[in-house]
Each structure stands twice: as structure tokens, then as C-alpha cells.
Amino acid sequence: MNAILGRYVNHDTFIHRMDPRNKFFCLIALMVAVFISYPTYEMTFIVGGAVATLIIALLLIAKVRILDVFKSLRVLWFFILLLMIINVFAPPTNAINIAFTIGKVNVYWEAIFQSLKIILRLVLMIMLTTLLTATTKPLDLTYALEWYMAPLKVIRFPVHEVAMTISIALRFIPTLLDETDRIMKAQSSRGVDFKHGKISSRLKAIVSLIIPLFISSFQRSEELADSMEARGYDPKAKRTRYRVLKFSLADLIGFILCSGVMAATIVISSFKWTYTTPHFVPWWILSLILVFLYMLLTALITAVVRRHRK
């Protein structure tokens, strides 16, 4: 498992120090910015590019390696390819501009842009969630969740219990993965082949993995329950926290920035803005210039924030 997807990476950056509750809000604000739709494709890519610039800069500031994020996108390649094919053969109803033809099938610019738009959104969404999970400890995330669910206490929803269950489940994911690995090793030593062989023997192989996994999970949960009870755990009790969540200056900046971006995208999306490519410059040169500008902007933001930190 080399994927960084969903794992916490310990660093001490501006983003790591932010309040998890605020990070949750910022995630949702930026999600709105990513998913809002614009009247024209030009606008989609210009504004989308700006949002992407911001997100990439944030990833760089949080010291998440962009290459790792792309590596974890590997699983999506197939999906992206499928999306492309479907979009090309079933073009949107407003398709007029033909890009090229394969045999008798017309491929429309609109179809290509449509799939590029979806891919952009998908990649940005994954980048955003990676940014959140890579910079926030799972436990802090559940605190944030508990905080947001607090109003539900009025209708007697067991907020604390749910948050506790989620945090325990998150806590045990790596443990279970380790355990699976260990059981696979123990069974491989007895000659079990998990990758090859007939279906019947592979089924048996999986049974030999699942049963010990279940048994040790049950045992573990019993032990955990006992140890919690031994330390006097009571879900109804009023509790304090070792780490008190605080709203800092960094949070204020993040809050203003993200809500600003969200507001800006909402305003832009309501504009009726038409733009036609000048005939003397091919569209791809314009796109290249735009991409270059965005890259420059990313580097600039990252450099400024990093220098400021020092």
C-alpha cells in the first residue's frame, strides 16, 4: 500500500495547525467552488484552473507531495477512460462544434470539454479530501464531526457515542490491515496460495483468512470494551479534553480565504459572460499561456507562504 489516500502525514505546517472544525468548513466551501457550474466552458476552465491553482498551492504548503496524490489517482484511470468514451459516443444535446470524425462518428468539442470538466472536478475533489486527511489526525476529524453534530443532541441523537464509534473504527483500520497481513503470512507458511489456483482452493484460502480475522477482531473488541470499562468510561459523563480546540489567526485567514473563494465562484457563475477566441491566436496557445500563468501563480503563493513561515 503506497497510496497516500486517506492517511495522515505528520508535519508541522500552517495547515496542520488549523482547527479541524474550521478545516471541515473550508473543505466544504472549496468543494462548492469545485462543483459549481458555469454558463460557458471557457469560464469553467478559467475559474476551475484558478481553484486548482489554489488547491495545489495548499497541498504544497501542507508538504503533501503532488506526485503521491497522482499515484493514488491510479485507480481512477479506468474510470476516466470509460467516462471519455461514453461522453464521446453519447454527446451532450447542445453539441454543435465538430472536433474530428472517426469513421462515421462525429466527436464534438462539447463532448471533450464535458469529460475534461468532470475529470477536473474529480481530481480536485480527491486532492481536497487528501489535503484534509493528510493534515488532520483521524481523531481530530471525529472531534470536528462531533462538534458539528452537537445540535442533534436536542432530539436525543447519541452524538458522543456515534463519534466514539467512528473514532474507534478509524483507529483500527491500520491495525486490521496489519492483522490481515500477518494472517496472510501465517497461512502462506502453511502453503495457502492467495493469488493463484482453482476457484475452489482460492475460496478456501479466503475462508482461512477471514475466520481468523473475525476471531481476532471480536477478541480485540472485547478487550477494548473491558479496558474502557476498567478505566471508568461512561458515555453519559461530562468530559474534558487534553487538547482544547482553539480558533487561531491561521484559522481566521483560512476561513476568510475559503469563504471568499466560495462567494467569488458563486458570483462568477451567475454572470452571463460570453467570450469568443480571437481568430488570430489558436485556442491551444491561449490554454498553454493560461496553464503557465497558473503554474507561476502556484509557485508564487507557495513561496510567499513558506517564506512568511520562516
Binding site: N2, I4, R7, D68, K185, Q187, S189, R190, D193, I211
Partner: protein
């Protein structure tokens, strides 16, 4: 040479932010029919080392030779690993990681059946192995989850013995067992060793090393710090390798301090010590 490590490096989760180097250039030879103990701190690479022996882990660089097999990065053919695993049996610390069948005899028969034995044949091997580890016939049809922890450990060991390995690797086999159970299990390994099986035992208990081993490997931070016979190891103060002095050695030392004129050579266990004291007192 039956087991040879050639400059083995192993890195967990290489090429990721979570990578950790467990073995940093291990080279060693283990002779056929030896009783080798591997000692060292938690995290010194003991378990990683033994998992290279049957290809559960493949060295990041370097190679491991076991009898006629070579485990190395380019040789990833699974057929070859499958037959290697019949040759080298590894018993892990917790029996709960491998028991899953409805009855004890079926569980032990599972291993031989993976290597092509027929059901009746496998059950026969299972009965034989269960007797070897001292499981009573009345328990054969019971579930492996109903019996005590010590018995479960024995069943797990029988499950590996069923493969008839030439090399038996045990990771902390006595951890969590009562002293009597631990002594019985160690006696079993000694018997197997006398019949020609190479035993490789990973342990924290220096007393086991003192009493049973004829070859010791001290691991530290992913490297072999010392590889020698126990006589050589215990000749000097073992505390400089942050190991404890074995109880028997401490007792012998105290006896000498109290003026009992025993000769410390060849005293490996309580029985030897008693005989020696009796000889002096006569």
C-alpha cells in the same frame, strides 16, 4: 551451506513517506541441524529476518539461499516459493492468526493438503503430529477455539510440523505460556532438533538461549551484532549487548562467591547444576 544471507537489505513500504529500513546488510550462515537462537531488542529486525527464510518477504536487495532455493528480487516465481515453504516452516507468535477449521485434526490436516496430500493421508499426518506435540486424542474432534491457550499454540505448531519441514522457524514460541507449558514445548523442539530438524528460534528469553542453543545470533538495529556459539557469548559479560545474564549463570556465580567450589563449565540447566553441587558436596 543450507542457509546463507548475502548482504540482505529490507525496507518496509519503500518509496512512500512511511518507509522504514528493517534490515541493513545482513550476511550470515546457519548450519544444517543447528539449534539457532536469534535475540535482540524489539524492532531490531529479528522477525523481518526470519520472514525472509520462506519468501514471505523478499529482500529489497541482496539474496537469501536456503538449501537449493534462492530468494531474491528477480526470482518471483511462486511455484518456487511454494516448494520452499514446504522446506521451511514458520510458526508465528499468535496461534489465533492461523487456526480456522472446525476441528483440531482438520486444521492440522489443512497444511499437508495444500501441498497435495489426500484427505485420509493428511488426517493421518495430523494425528501423528498432534501426538508429537502432546495433544490428547480426545481433543482431536474439538474446535481449536475451545481449548486452552497453551494447547492452541501446540495445535498451531502441529499445523506446521505437518508439512515435515527440514527447517523449523519459531517466533517467540513461549510468550504467554505458563512455565510448565513453555518447558514442555522447548523439550519438544530439542527432540525435533535431535532428530535432525534445524531449529531457528526467535526469543527474548536469554535463559532459553543458555539452555538450548548451540548457535546464537544477536541482532541490533537491523544488523547482526554477533554470531557465535553460546559458549563464546556467555564467556564474557553479555550485558554489554544489553542482554541479561542467564539465571543459571547468575546462580553459578553466586555459588562460587559463597565458597562452593564447583566448576562452571558445561552447566547448562538446573539438572546439571544440581549434579555438580552434589558432586562437590560429596
Amino acid at each position: 551451506m543450507p542457509i546463507r544471507f548475502n548482504d540482505v537489505f529490507y525496507t518496509y513500504q519503500a518509496n512512500s513517506p512511511f518507509k522504514s529500513e528493517a534490515l541493513k546488510g545482513v550476511s550470515l550462515d546457519i548450519k544444517d541441524g543447528s539449534f539457532t537462537c536469534i535475540v535482540g531488542h524489539t524492532g531490531s529486525g529479528k522477525s523481518t529476518l526470519v520472514q525472509q527464510l520462506n519468501g514471505l518477504l523478499i529482500p529489497t536487495s541482496g539474496s537469501v539461499e536456503v538449501n537449493n532455493f534462492t530468494v531474491q528480487k528477480k526470482h518471483k516465481s511462486l511455484k518456487h516459493l511454494h516448494s520452499l515453504r514446504k522446506e521451511v516452516g514458520i510458526v508465528f507468535q499468535f496461534a489465533r492468526y492461523q487456526l480456522f477449521e472446525e476441528t483440531i485434526e482438520q486444521d492440522v490436516a489443512f497444511g499437508p493438503m495444500n501441498f497435495g496430500a489426500k484427505k485420509e493421508e493428511a488426517l493421518e499426518i495430523a494425528h501423528e503430529c498432534l501426538k508429537t506435540v502432546g495433544i490428547d486424542e480426545s481433543l482431536f474432534k474439538r474446535s481449536p477455539f475451545e481449548v486452552s491457550g497453551g494447547q492452541r499454540r501446540r495445535v498451531a505448531i502441529a499445523g506446521i510440523l505437518g508439512l515435515k519441514p527440514k527447517i523449523l522457524v519459531l517466533d517467540e514460541p513461549t510468550a504467554g505460556l505458563d512455565p510448565k507449558g513453555a518447558a514442555e514445548i522447548l523439550k519438544l523442539f530439542k527432540e525435533l532438533n535431535d532428530k535432525g530438524t534445524t531449529i531457528i528460534l526467535v526469543t527474548h528469553d536469554i535463559n532459553i538461549v543458555y539452555e538450548y542453543a548451540n548457535d546464537v545470533i544477536v541482532m541490533n538495529e537491523g544488523k547482526v551484532e554477533l554470531h557465535c556459539s553460546p559458549e563464546e557469548l556467555f564467556k564474557e559479560d553479555v550485558e554489554k549487548y544489553s542482554l541479561e545474564t542467564p539465571l543459571i549463570q547468575q546462580t553459578v556465580k553466586m555459588c562460587l562467591e559463597k565458597g562452593l567450589n564447583i566448576s562452571p563449565a558445561k552447566i547448562r540447566n538446573v539438572h546439571d547444576l544440581a549434579v555438580e553441587i552434589a558432586r562437590v558436596k560429596k
